[in-house]
């Protein structure tokens, strides 16, 4: 039996007491897609993935992964998936190869296949030379790469990546992105990744779901999402952004006026021609304009458009996790 889609969720919901972490999530992700769940920290991305990975129970709704029900067939779901968790999940006292061997053992891989696959995944992430070192001597980026290798070791149908480049330096991030792109092209694998980095979603994902407060706001390709904004984005930074925003809204100079973080943003078809008029209006109401910029819409603008706020990286939740992140950043 081959399922039509790699992942199918219907009204999937998770409540913690009064808090609705994931709110009636309905999604369909096809085989071979690189699908992004884009949203700020606390939007429910990790909870959604944890339910699909069968480590957190859903409150209501249903979901299938690779055709298997997450509640009724957790063992088959687990066999079908690989995951790289947001927080480190390797044992530092073991070497990279030992971590991989344990993984192979837990997934019941035959020993000849284990040897072959360990070679392959180590090569893929460029860690052949360091495989026998204890992982406490690895850098943060190397640990992440080994986790990626481990997630792929048992050739899963669906790979979950929860914030794959969180806390990594730009160069390492670039490497990880290259591995993921390569994987999507060659390995015929479905990838579901969560991120709050716009560039990451734009670069890697064939489709993106924007998620905020546990709800899906919109699902589409990054290009389509950007073109829904119809035009360019003008950002105005000024001394009294509120006053300016309310005046501009009243005058209806643009189809859309957003205001957040001290910046007024207008989405307009013909930005260059509108700028003099904007300055004029600002001067009329006595608001001093500090700077004006025009740019093509990015996913960040799309996110702003659908949620009314900017995506922002929050602090990690517990001191221990923060400590781990600092270790990872080394």
């Amino acid at each position: 039996m081959k399922a039509k889609s790699a992942i199918e969720t219907r009204e999937l919901t998770k409540k913690y007491g009064d808090l609705v972490a994931v709110d009636h999530l309905s999604l369909s992700i096809g085989y071979g897609e690189v699908f992004g769940l884009l949203g700020p920290n606390g939007a429910g991305k990790t909870t959604a993935i944890s339910m699909l990975c069968t480590i957190v129970n859903s409150t209501s709704g249903s979901a299938q992964v690779n055709g298997f029900d997450i509640l009724k067939q957790p063992a088959q779901v687990r066999k079908s998936i690989g995951i790289v968790f947001q927080d480190p999940s390797i044992d530092n006292r073991l070497s990279g190869r030992e971590n991989l061997r344990l993984h192979a053992c837990l997934y019941d891989m035959p020993s000849a296949l284990t040897r072959k696959r360990i070679m392959e995944v180590l090569q893929l992430v460029g860690l052949e030379d360091r495989a026998d070192d204890r992982m406490k001597f690895y850098s943060g980026g190397m640990r992440r790469r080994l986790e990626l290798a481990r997630g792929l070791l048992h050739s899963p149908k669906v790979l979950f990546l929860d914030e794959p480049t969180l806390g990594l330096d730009p160069q390492t991030r670039e490497h990880i992105w290259a591995y993921i792109e390569n994987l999507a092209k060659e390995a015929q694998i479905t990838i579901v990744l969560t991120t709050h980095y716009m560039e990451e979603a734009e670069r890697l994902c064939s489709r993106v779901a924007i998620i905020d407060y546990g709800k899906i706001k919109v699902v589409d390709t990054p290009d389509n999402l950007k073109s829904t904004l119809k035009g360019d984005v003008i950002s105005i930074s000024s001394a009294q952004p509120e006053k300016l925003a309310s005046k501009l809204t009243k005058l209806k100079v643009a189809p859309e006026t957003d205001f957040s973080d001290g910046t007024v943003r207008l989405t307009v078809p013909d930005a260059e021609k509108l700028i003099p008029r904007l300055i004029e209006i600002a001067t009329e109401i006595g608001v001093q304009v500090n700077s004006v910029s025009v740019h093509k819409p990015t996913l960040n603008d799309v996110f702003l458009h659908y949620t009314g706020r900017e995506i922002r990286a929050d602090e990690p939740e517990s001191p221990l996790k923060m400590h781990m992140m600092m270790m990872r950043r080394k």
Partner: protein, 249 residues
């Protein structure tokens, strides 16, 4: 049997971890040695009967204590795995929860066994004459005791969420189990209320079985009943832990 292979993997993981923490191995030997040589040495004058002085009497008890501390601790250390995320890697794998518990219990049991085995040759220091046969009988009893105790630690780890509760557990679980087990004094001469506690403490039967293996005679029940109690305890605890691990929040 694929589950056996997974249990083997988890067992091997525990052994590797144990082996790589040499400082833990050494530090966990210091406490039993202090008890045996210092406390036992001080009490040595207490002649219990014609063949035993206090130091020889307490030897099987100290073996039991070593198992108690290292096993319960090893079970509780799962909190660490959970905090650092490694537990997730195991929980998301297609491994039955019972196999996870059995693998962990066997692995920690084996390391507790090594710990105890290191103490065996020191028996002569306190005047216990161990035959090879008694040494060989002691080992399986030790692993049986350790399995049940690891599961106590695992159950605690599934209830408390951080290491902050550790002192509480030390004084509420570990020390009472130690003091009511008959490791330090014969329960047969203890007051009635203390005996009642002692009889519901599984470690009592463990220590008594070790006493039987060391001296050829024991105090409480015929040894085969004690072994059955230990078996039932280990099996019951594995079942309870598998259930606790199966709860997905």
């Amino acid at each position: 049997m694929s589950e056996l292979k997974k249990i083997y993997g988890l067992w091997y993981l525990e052994i590797l971890r144990y082996w790589r923490e040499k400082s833990r191995i050494i530090s966990s030997l210091i406490m039993p040695l202090l008890w045996l040589l210092v406390f036992g040495g001080g009490m040595r004058g207490l002649q219990l009967d014609s063949t035993q002085n206090y130091q020889t009497f307490m030897f099987p008890g100290i073996l039991g204590m070593t198992l108690l501390f290292s096993s319960v601790w090893s079970g509780i250390s799962v909190i660490w795995d959970r905090e650092f995320g490694f537990l997730k890697e195991i929980l998301v794998a297609p491994v039955s929860r019972a196999s996870i518990v059995i693998g962990k219990a066997l692995g920690s049991g084996t390391s507790a066994l090594i710990q105890g085995a290191i103490l065996l040759p020191l028996a002569f220091l306190v005047g216990v004459h161990l035959s090879l046969l008694s040494a060989v009988t002691i080992l399986p009893i030790m692993i049986l005791i350790a399995i049940g105790l690891v599961c106590i630690g695992l159950l605690i780890a599934s209830i408390i969420t951080s290491m902050e509760g550790f002192n509480f557990i030390m004084s509420l679980v570990i020390m009472p189990l130690f003091f009511t087990s008959g490791a330090l004094f014969p329960m047969t001469s203890a007051p009635g209320w203390l005996r009642t506690f002692s009889y519901v403490n599984p470690l009592t039967y463990g220590v008594d079985a070790l006493r039987w293996a060391t001296f050829g005679e024991n105090l409480i029940l015929p040894v085969q009943f004690e072994i059955m109690i230990l078996l039932a305890f280990a099996a019951g605890m594995i079942a309870a832990c598998s259930y606790a691990f199966n709860i997905r929040k």
